[in-house]
């Protein structure tokens, strides 16, 4: 009998039947369904691809940072803060080798340090020449930077003391000057001076900032100071702390020491800048994350556009199937049944698009990493998020058309031509 509440006990329309129905309805208009899905496919594909490219970039950055050594502390001449007519690190003359020795002596958290004096030079070997950077330093630099020599050897302390005309080449420079020929023991000309090549470094690849670290020549800092740049100060100090934690703790100590040594009054700006590798790492990672987020959100705009496409086609579908809705209602479908049917249809459409989009995104990032030799990291998180997001798009944009279908008057719907 018609006692109210009876229907609560009943299973109602089973879910899988509704899904099957949705697939059938979508299969009836294959071209239309696939065009509608295209919006979601492109959206999800773009999100997956950009996120995996972004994460690949993050990975590159992390790699670069690790290759710098996680204990590294970097001291550069010049101010850290922008603004005003400040001088760059190249022009500030206050950082000296004595500062470095003072740091080594007085800051116990710092284990090692190497100076850097940098200059742009033209190098010549026979009929080959190349414009590159020469960096004057001490032999322990290669240890601090964890940068082994692949052929020959690094210069020694006595060559620093005597300001000898010896150098170690990065692989890029060696490649340009010598090709496949061995460089060790050869004589090259840097500026007007003849230098003997004593070693060639292992390849280090691109730096975090994107420049080629192998496009560089290393020589004793005394040689560069006196014979190439003609200066008495240094531009950078590459230091190494006793541990990654110590690197951050050393910063205030170094700052205090250098301010005292440079006679900087309280309230005045530093004329040097201390950074640790972990700071650089954080900064770089942050930059990368912002980039990834930005790209991802641009890509997700197309996901929303795809959702609007679904809404549009569902509205058309509801109008076209008004009579069907009327018949279903006449034979006992409740508003909830009709709403569920159309909602499931919209979600099926968007999730199907999402699935194809994930595959397209994976394929796209594989292509990119193949052709641009850029590492891409497929993150499971991005895939799960894309799947959930595409389902949410279906629910959100399918709701209104489904509601519209459910609220049709069965009498009107049955009469609809």
């Amino acid at each position: 009998m018609l006692c109210p509440g009876r229907h609560k006990k009943e299973a109602g329309v089973d879910f899988w039947n509704t899904v099957r129905l949705a697939f059938r309805a979508l299969a009836r208009n294959k071209l239309r369904s696939s065009l509608t899905m295209l919006g979601i496919i492109i959206g999800v594909g773009a999100v997956i691809a950009t996120v995996s490219i972004g994460q690949g970039a993050e990975y590159l950055v992390q790699q670069g940072i690790q290759s710098m050594g996680t204990n590294a502390v970097f001291i550069s001449a010049g101010s850290s803060r922008p603004g005003g007519a400040r001088l760059g690190s190249w022009a500030v003359k206050t950082l000296t080798i004595d500062d470095m020795n003072a740091i080594l002596r007085e800051v116990s958290l710092i284990r090692e340090a190497a100076p850097a004096v940098i200059s742009r030079v033209q190098v010549v070997y026979q009929n080959q020449n190349w414009n590159t950077t020469i960096q004057g330093t001490t032999p322990n630099f290669f240890g601090i930077r964890n940068w082994p020599v692949q052929a020959g050897s690094a210069f020694g302390d006595e060559e620093v003391d005597s300001a000898a005309d010896v150098c170690v080449l990065g692989t890029t420079v060696a490649g340009y000057l010598f090709g496949t020929e061995s460089a060790v023991g050869k004589q090259i000309r840097i500026g007007n001076l003849p230098f003997r090549v004593v070693g060639v470094l292992e390849s280090k690849g691109q730096s975090v900032m994107g420049d080629d670290q192998d496009d560089r020549i290393f020589a004793p800092y005394t040689t560069v100071q006196r014979k190439i740049s003609g200066i008495t100060w240094i531009q950078f100090i590459n230091a190494s702390a006793i541990s990654p934690e110590a690197s951050n703790a050393a910063v205030p100590q170094i700052t205090a020491l250098l301010r005292e040594r440079h006679h900087i009054h309280q309230g005045d700006d530093d004329d040097f800048f201390v950074r640790t590798q972990s700071e650089v790492a954080d900064l770089a990672a942050q930059t990368q994350q912002v980039m990834t987020l930005l790209l991802g959100s641009i890509a997700s705009v197309s996901l929303i556009v795809g959702g609007i496409g679904i809404m549009n086609i569902m509205l058309v579908s509801v109008t076209e199937r008004t009579r069907e809705i009327g018949v279903r209602m006449a034979v006992g479908a409740t508003e909830a049944d009709v709403q569920r049917q159309f909602l499931v249809e919209a979600v099926t459409l968007s999730m199907l698009g999402g699935a194809v989009g994930i595959i397209a995104g994976l394929g796209g990032s594989a292509l990119i990493s193949n052709f641009l030799s850029w590492p891409t990291l497929i993150s499971a998180k991005a895939i799960v998020a894309a799947a959930i997001f595409s389902a949410a798009v279906g629910v959100f944009f399918g709701f209104y058309p489904a509601r519209k279908a459910a609220q049709l008057d069965p009498i009107e719907a049955l009469r609809y031509e």
Partner: protein, 273 residues
């Protein structure tokens, strides 16, 4: 079944056995169109007993469509009461009305209203989907209903592959599949040629007689009404005449006397020769 109500006296067609499955008490339906109010039904009181075969007649605007919508629980009366199977359903919620349509009523339409690109069997299954029946049971019932209209061998055909008469038989099977108390047919023969119309009437008469199904049929054609037992004639929203059908036609007797259209064409050709 419920106790027949003794309070209301059966109308002209009280000769059929069984209790009243439909009882209307002073049913009014008014459509509020803003400026004007349209009185589609102005106090209709009637009873239809179980196993009756009733024709609802009237011109357009007579209120017969509104009556069918109310009988079919697609619409609610503005005033008055509607007892279906002994229960007052005049002010039920939409969800409850959907349940009632699903369990108690079967609909047959003039336009057949089958779902295109859906097999006959699945069309027939449709009401069972909303009845929460297991898939196996659904198919079993649908097959059974198709057998009852003589279309068991067309189960996998699509509506587009069936003739008009066959489509209407599929629609009748769909109306029967949940074993309703009442079959409501709205101009079921309106889109069919005269011979096929009689075939459909034959099926309805058989279902009525052999299986005791109550049939309420809307028509404006007198010769179709002749196949029913009782006619309810509406005019201006009121029940004007409630009469038993005299000289009732029996479709299975009429059918052999009807030449098929092909034969008629052949005769025409012969006579003109």
């Amino acid at each position: 079944m419920d106790q027949p109500s003794t309070a209301t006296i059966a109308t002209a067609a009280a000769t059929t056995d069984g209790s009243p499955v439909i009882r209307l008490e002073a049913v009014h339906k008014t459509y509020d169109l803003g400026e004007i109010q349209v009185h589609a039904l102005r106090g209709v009181t009637l009873q239809i007993r179980a196993r009756e075969f009733v024709a609802v007649m009237g011109a357009s605007g007579s209120g017969k469509s509104t009556l069918m919508n109310i009988l079919g629980c697609l619409d609610r009366p503005t005033r008055g009461q509607y007892f279906l199977d002994g229960t007052d359903v005049s002010q039920r919620s939409k969800v409850e009305l959907a349940r009632i349509r699903n369990r108690k009523l079967g609909f047959v339409f003039q336009q057949f209203n089958l779902l295109a690109r859906t097999s006959a069997l699945e069309n027939v299954e449709l009401p069972t989907v909303y009845a929460g029946i297991t898939p196996q049971e659904r198919e079993h019932r649908a097959q059974e209903a198709l057998e009852r209209v003589g279309l068991a061998d067309r189960a996998e055909h699509y509506p587009s592959q069936l003739s008009g008469g066959q489509q209407q038989r599929v629609a009748i099977a769909r109306a029967l599949v949940n074993r309703p108390a009442i079959l409501l047919a709205d101009e079921p023969t309106g889109n069919l040629d005269s011979r096929t119309a009689v075939e459909i009437m034959d099926i309805l008469q058989r279902l009525n007689e052999e299986q005791g199904l109550t049939v309420v049929l809307v028509t404006h054609e007198n010769d179709i009404a002749q196949y029913t037992e009782r006619t309810l004639e509406f005019r201006d929203g009121k029940l004007r005449q409630d009469a038993r059908v005299r000289n009732r036609l029996i479709a299975r007797e009429v059918l052999p006397t009807l030449p098929s259209l092909d034969e008629e064409d052949a005769e025409d050709a012969a006579s003109s020769a």
